[in-house]
């Protein structure tokens, strides 16, 4: 086997002059910051509406400048570094969190080729043959920021928060990664522009609906957003990994979180929602007019903001999960489903490739599903705990500790006939003690 393509470049990229690249870089930076500012206000407004409140409305028109004001304010706040903290890591953590968040949009195609000052270029900073892998890699680097923040604070809550966020992010990243497999199966490439190209006919979000749903769930877990915002669950952990942070450093994490929301939404858009392509009826208008020029930016950001709205909507609607339920959901539900789905998709794709008739596929697939269903009936609904705990059910004497009865503890059984307290002081603690003695 010889490498068929030993170059890293994808056609159409790498040829831009330096100033175009500079413009694009700046543009992405600005998009990130502006979208963050927008999103914060947007979120507060939407949630407020859902709760029949008004939301921020003082700063700027309709309160639109509220988040900018908050940011500036945070900039001038006192910057506390707790004395228990590991200083270097403590300062580095927000930087590590924030830098990767800016990078993901670099590989997201926001539109087709356009002309800027006479130069024809794509509305995408760069593309790689492994662009999606790149996004995953960069996203995982961002996790370090949170983890290190928790670790370096030298305090209990941040540590727990950091751990939780790490565990959560890696768990959901797994599922997220698996949800991509279907896309790659169909697209045959990992380059984002290639994937958008492949969705010209049909969005992957439709043919790979389970993948898309799984991705949507995992993207919320990945960004630590409600209802999955356990790392900073204020009810349990004060503010999670961010407890010890203040001033602009705290703002950095905030910024990173909101940019990440944009990022995952952009990835979802690219991979499942046809990227910058116009939605169906519009795409047919005027021979695809809306898919050329600067129009696609509109569709792209429209889709992104739609997804952001989903974020906000969920936050406004759903209560936070308990941590164990949350992890169970990931490992015991999403993961097996993803695996099965991948196998199914691959099998279907294989069947198409091998030229098997669609009816046959449906027939045999139906039979298989039926068999599985029947089989699933045979599995007992809820397994008994496999090894019955040998907590010897201690006979409980409600009057053991004194003249007043006390309720039984877990594992203790309440005896039907309570004894007369005064006479039974001998058998005070537990009835299995003779047996214990004989074993010892």
């Amino acid at each position: 086997m010889v490498a068929e393509n030993t170059t890293d470049e994808i056609a159409g990229f790498g040829g831009d002059p330096w100033w175009i690249i500079a413009i694009k870089c700046l543009a992405i930076f600005v998009i990130c910051v502006v979208l963050t500012l927008f999103n914060i206000v947007f979120e507060r407004k939407v949630v407020a509406r859902m709760q029949h409140r008004v939301g921020p409305n003082r700063t700027g028109p309709f309160g639109a400048l509220q988040s900018l004001a908050d940011g500036v304010k945070l900039m001038f706040k006192e910057d506390i570094i707790p004395k228990a903290a590991d200083k270097v890591v403590y300062i580095l953590a927000p930087i590590i969190a924030v830098i990767p968040s800016f990078l993901i949009l670099a590989v997201i195609p926001m539109g087709p080729e356009v002309s800027i000052f006479g130069e024809t270029t794509r509305l995408q900073l760069t593309d790689l043959p492994v662009a999606v892998l790149f996004t995953l890699a960069i996203a995982s680097v961002g996790v370090y920021g949170l983890m290190l923040a928790g670790w370096s604070s030298g305090s209990t809550y941040p540590l727990l928060g950091g751990l939780r966020s790490t565990a959560q992010v890696i768990s959901y990243e797994l599922v997220m990664g698996l949800s991509f497999v279907g896309v790659f199966l169909f697209a045959g490439t990992m380059s984002t522009s290639g994937i958008v190209e492949e969705q010209e006919r049909l969005w992957f979000g439709i043919i790979l609906l389970p993948s898309f749903v799984i991705y949507l769930i995992s993207m919320i877990g990945e960004t630590n957003r409600a209802p999955f915002d356990l790392p900073e669950a204020e009810g349990e952990l004060v503010a999670g990994w961010g407890t010890e942070y203040s001033s602009i450093k705290y703002a950095m994490f905030f910024l990173a979180e909101y940019i990440n929301m944009v990022n995952v939404s952009a990835i979802a858009t690219t991979l499942f929602l046809g990227g910058w392509r116009a939605p169906w009826p519009l795409s047919a208008v005027n021979d695809g007019m809306f898919n050329t020029g600067w129009w696609p930016l509109l569709w792209f950001f429209g889709k992104v903001i739609l997804l952001i709205f989903v974020f906000v909507w969920l936050r406004g609607t759903l209560p936070r999960l308990r941590y164990d339920q949350f992890m169970h959901f990931c490992w015991k539900r999403l993961l097996p489903i993803s695996l099965v789905w991948i196998v199914l998709v691959a099998a279907m794709r294989l069947a198409f490739n091998e030229g098997i008739e669609r009816n046959d596929i449906l027939l045999y697939g139906g039979i298989a599903v039926a068999v599985l269903l029947v089989a699933s009936l045979l599995i007992p609904e809820k397994k008994q705990p496999e090894e019955p705990e040998v907590v010897e059910q201690a006979e409980f004497d409600a009057y053991a500790s004194g003249p007043h009865p006390v309720p039984p503890l877990p594992g203790q059984r309440f005896t039907a006939a309570p004894r007369i307290p005064a006479t039974s002081t001998a058998s005070s603690t537990s009835d299995d003690s003779p047996e214990e003695g004989s074993r010892a």
Binding site: M1, V2, A3, T6
Partner: protein, 99 residues
Amino acid sequence: MSPTPYLVLSVILFSIGAAGVLTRRNALVAFMCVELMLNAGNLAFVTFARMHGNLDGQMVAFFVMVVAAAEVVVGLAIIVTIFRTRRSASVDDASLLKL
């Protein structure tokens, strides 16, 4: 593309890892240094694969990743167990076995 810088980098990584294993007393750190060494090997493999124009080296890199993962699992299992038992992850504290 000259492979030399990559090889040099890989040798440097390897040396850092080896030095780490030999000098650091914390089992986890030593273990991470081993992982660094494995990755240095990967880098070398991929570089050589590029040099020779075949994919064998890339393939090895994949497998090494698997092995490294398995090693992480086994290593963490052992380290955590001993950590739980004696509440320390230092190699020096593990001193019941001496010549």
